[in-house]
Symmetry: C2
C-alpha cells in the first residue's frame, strides 16, 4: 500500500510550475556498475544546467534527483533559483538512473531483474559523484581542485536522502547538503512503524477536527460492511461516482488502499496555498475536506459512506470537471514501477497502522512484504538492516555539513532527523510545514516557519562557503 | 612489472611466524554483490577469532585482510596481540574476498571476467561491514548498539588502505583505524610516478653506498649489452646459476623485471633483524647486499654482471642451499592473479623510473598498462581517477580517527599520508622504518622509531576508546 506514497510526493511537485526555469539538457556517459566489473556497459545520464545566475567562482547547486523525471524537479524546486543570484550559483539538476530519460537499457530497463538490478541508491550516488567530477574538471575547468567551485547538494524526500548520503559517503564531492523531508531513519527498527499514520491522524485532528478523525476511523468498517453484498458494492460505486463498479472483494481492498493514499497525500500537501496536483487542490486541503465531511449528518453505514464520498470530491473533483473516479490512478510520467522496486528490494520502510490512528489496522509484516515483492519483481527484499549499515543509522556524529529540514505536519517527518547532531549536522523543524515546503519557490502565503527555515538554509550554505 | 610488488609484501609476512597465535576459524555468508541486485548469490567469507585476551566490554581489534590467505596475516601481525591484553580486546582477522578460502565461486572464481568482476575494494569493505555487524549483533550480543564493543580496524599495505577506507566510508562500523604503510595517495596523479623508485635508490644509497647505487644503475645497460648475443646469454645464465638458460630477448626482459623486484623487496624488508622470507634474509639485507657488491672489482660489462650475480646471492641463496635460480618465482599460496587483477582494473598505481634513479628508465604509460591488462584479464582498466572519487583523494579533512603510519625507508611511503590532516587524522613517520614494521610483533632489534610509533598507536586507540 505504501509503496506509492513517494510517488505521490513527486506528483505534488507539479503544482506551481514556473515555466521561466529554463535549462540546457545534457547527458553524461556513466558506468552501469560502479562497484563491480562484470560489465563495462555505460549509459547516458541526463542532467539539466541553468547558467543564468552563475558568476565565475560561484558555487554549484546540484539537485540530487529522485524517483521521477528530472524536469519535474527542475520546475518545482524554486528555492534553489530564489537564492542562486545571491550566491552566483550554477544550478544543476541530476537525474536518478532508471527514471525519466536516464534509462540504462532504454525501454527494456524494467524488463528483468538482471536489468533492473542496477537500480540502487549506491549506484545512483556514484552517478552523481561521476557527474560532479565531470562538471568540475571539464565543464568548469578546475582540474581536481576541491576548493574552487564547491558543490552544494539539495534534495527533497528520497532526493533529500540522497543529498545527505552524498555528503556522508562522498564528502569531497559536495561541501554540504540541504536535505529536506528526508526520512533517512525510516529503515529497519529506527522508527516505530505506526508513527507515519499517527502523524496523519494528528494532522487531520489539528486542521480538521476530532470528529473528522473519528468519522474516518469508523468509515473502514462501514465501507467493508456496506460492500459485503453485491448490492452494497453497487450502492457505493454509484454514490462515489466510480468509473468502474466494484465487483470482487479485491476491488474493495484496492478501494481502501486508494482511500488511504488520499489521506496520506492530503496531509503531505496540506500547503497554505492552492496547488495544482494530479488534481487541483485548495489551500489547506485537509481542513476543507474535514469541514465538508463534518457538514453531513448520517445515522448508519450507508449514510457515512455517502457523506465520505461527497467530502472526497474536495480531492477527487475540486474543479467539478471530473466525469468519474478511477481508483487505478497511476501517472504515466512517474517512475512508479522503478520506485516500487526500490522500496521493495533495498529501501524498505516499515509502516503499520493501529487502533490508535484513523486508519484501518494493518500490522507490519516483513515476510508478507518481501513475498509480495518477490511476486511482483522476481527478487526478494534484501536484509532490511542494510541501509543502516550502508548509511550509518542514527549515529551521524562523524558526518558534517548537513541540514535536515522537516515539516512537522508531514508524515514523512517521522523518519527524519529532528534534532541537532553536532555543530555541523543540524535539524530544522518547520512546525506547520508539509512535505518539503521549504524547497519550493517562495509564496506570499508561506508561513513564518517556512520562511525562517529557508533563511536557516542560506546561513548554513554561507557558513560552508566561508561567506561572512 | 610492478603488479607483483604487493604480493611480495605479503610473502614477507611469513617471516617471524609465531605458532602461538591460535584462532578459531569461522565463516559468514555474505552477499556476492552489495551494491546491485542482479544476483542474490552469497558466499562464505572466512574469518579468524582469538578470544584469549577478551574481557566482556573490551573492544574488537579487526584486521581488514588484504591480498592473501588470512592465516598469514593472523600469524604475522604481532602488534595486535602484543597490545590486546592491555585493552581486553577480542582479536579478529577478516579475509578479503577472492583470497585464501574466501572464494565466491570456489575453484572457478578466477575463470572469467564475469566471475572475477566482483573482486573490488568496495565489495570487500562491504563484506567487512557485514561481518562487523554480525559479530556485534550475534557474536557479542549487542543488538545495534554502536558504543559497546567498539571495533578498531588494523591493516598493513593494501590492508591498511582498507582499514582507512573502512573508517572513512563506514565510520559507524569501526571507531578508528590504524593504517600502516597504506599508499592511499598512490592513484592517478596524486603522487609523482617516479617517487617509488627514487626512495629505493635512496635506501640503497643510505644503507649501501653511492657506489652500490651507481653499480646497479650501470648494470641494466651492461646486462643488455652482454645478453645481446647468444654467447652472452649463456655466460650470464651460467654466471648467475640460473635454472633455465636465457634464450629469447623476452627472457632478458623477464630477468630485468625479476631483478628490479628484488631491489624493491630488499628495500621493503630492510628490517633490523633477520627475516625468513621466500628465502631467508639477514638483518639490513640492503646493506649486506651492497657490501658484497662493493667488494668486487670489475673493468667491463661482463665483470659487472658477474659481480652482481654474486652479490644477489644474499637474496637468492642466503642459506647456500638453493641449487639454481628460477626467475619465474611465484608463490602458490598467494593470490597473485587476483591482486594483479585488482591492480590492473581498479587500483591502478602509476610507477615510472627515470635517469635519476638506479633503475632502468621506464616511463608510465597508462594506455600500454591498460592494454596489457586487457590481454591478461579480458577487461580494460577502469578510469584511473575513480579511487580518488570513491575514497576522497588528498582531502581527508572530513574524516576522523585514523592513524597513517609509514616507514620512511619503505618505497610505498611515497603514496602514503605523511602529515597530520587534523586533530584526529594523524600521520606517524617512522624515520628508519621499512614496510609496516610497526604492525609486526615487538623484537629486541626494533629501532626506537618503531617502538615510538607503536606507542603512538596505543595512545590513539586509548583516546578513541575514551580510556585515560
Amino acid at each position: 500500500m505504501m509503496l506509492l506514497l513517494f510517488l505521490f510526493s513527486i506528483i505534488l511537485y507539479w503544482h506551481n510550475v514556473k515555466s521561466h526555469y529554463a535549462f540546457e539538457t545534457k547527458f553524461i556517459e556513466v558506468p552501469l556498475d560502479h562497484f563491480s566489473f562484470t560489465t563495462n556497459k555505460t549509459f547516458k545520464l541526463r542532467y539539466l544546467v541553468n547558467r543564468s545566475f552563475h558568476v565565475k567562482g560561484g558555487p554549484v547547486f546540484i539537485y540530487t534527483g529522485n524517483e521521477g523525471d528530472i524536469t519535474m524537479f527542475a520546475q518545482n524546486t524554486g528555492f534553489m533559483f530564489d537564492i542562486a543570484p545571491e550566491f552566483n550559483a550554477l544550478v544543476v539538476f541530476a537525474e536518478h538512473r532508471y527514471y525519466g530519460k536516464s534509462l540504462p537499457f532504454g525501454n527494456e530497463s524494467y524488463s528483468s531483474p538482471a536489468k533492473l538490478g542496477y537500480l540502487t541508491s549506491s549506484q545512483a550516488l556514484a552517478d552523481f559523484v561521476y557527474l560532479i567530477e565531470y562538471l568540475r574538471q571539464y565543464y568548469l575547468g578546475t582540474v581536481i581542485s576541491y576548493d574552487t567551485y564547491p558543490f552544494i547538494a539539495f534534495g527533497g524526500s528520497y532526493g533529500g536522502m540522497l543529498a545527505a548520503w552524498l555528503r556522508m559517503k562522498y564528502p569531497n564531492s559536495v561541501l554540504g547538503a540541504i536535505a529536506s523531508s528526508a526520512p533517512i531513519w525510516f529503515f529497519d527498527n529506527m522508527t516505530p512503524c505506526e508513527t507515519f499514520y499517527d502523524i496523519i491522524t494528528n494532522v487531520f485532528g489539528h486542521f480538521g477536527t476530532d470528529r473528522c478523525n473519528k468519522t474516518i476511523q469508523m468509515s473502514w468498517e462501514a465501507i467493508r460492511n456496506v460492500t459485503k453484498t453485491k448490492q452494497g458494492k453497487k450502492f457505493l460505486s454509484h454514490s462515489w461516482n466510480m468509473c468502474n463498479e466494484l465487483k470482487a472483494a479485491t476491488d474493495v481492498d484496492k478501494l481502501l488502499d486508494w482511500l488511504s493514499n488520499i489521506y496520506v497525500n492530503l496531509a503531505m500537501v496540506n500547503y497554505p496555498y492552492p496547488t495544482t496536483f494530479i488534481v487541483p487542490l485548495p489551500a489547506y486541503p485537509v481542513k476543507i475536506f474535514c469541514d465538508k465531511l463534518n457538514s453531513f449528518k448520517f445515522d448508519d453505514n450507508k449514510g457515512l459512506v455517502s457523506a465520505l464520498g461527497k467530502a472526497l470530491e474536495v480531492y477527487t473533483n475540486y474543479t467539478g470537471k471530473i466525469k468519474c473516479i478511477n481508483i487505478n490512478i497511476t501517472s504515466e510520467d512517474i517512475g512508479e514501477y522503478a520506485w516500487d522496486y526500490q522500496a521493495c528490494i533495498e529501501l524498505i520502510m516499515p509502516m503499520c497502522s493501529t487502533k490508535k490512528d484513523m486508519f484501518e489496522v494493518l500490522p507490519w509484516n516483513f515476510q508478507k512484504y518481501s513475498d509480495d515483492c518477490f511476486k511482483r519483481f522476481g527478487v526478494h527484499s534484501s536484509e532490511p538492516h542494510w541501509p543502516i549499515l550502508e548509511y550509518g543509522g542514527k549515529n551521524l556524529r562523524y558526518f558534517s555539513n548537513i541540514v535536515f529540514s522537516n515539516g512537522m505536519m508531514d508524515p514523512w517527518s517521522c523518519g527524519g532527523v529532528l534534532y541537532n547532531i553536532s555543530a555541523t549536522v543540524l535539524a530544522v523543524n518547520i512546525t506547520d510545514g508539509a512535505h518539503h515546503s521549504d524547497l519550493r519557490g517562495s509564496d506570499p502565503a508561506d508561513t513564518n516557519y517556512v520562511v525562517e527555515a529557508r533563511k536557516f538554509h542560506i546561513r548554513a550554505i554561507r557558513k560552508w562557503l566561508n561567506i561572512n
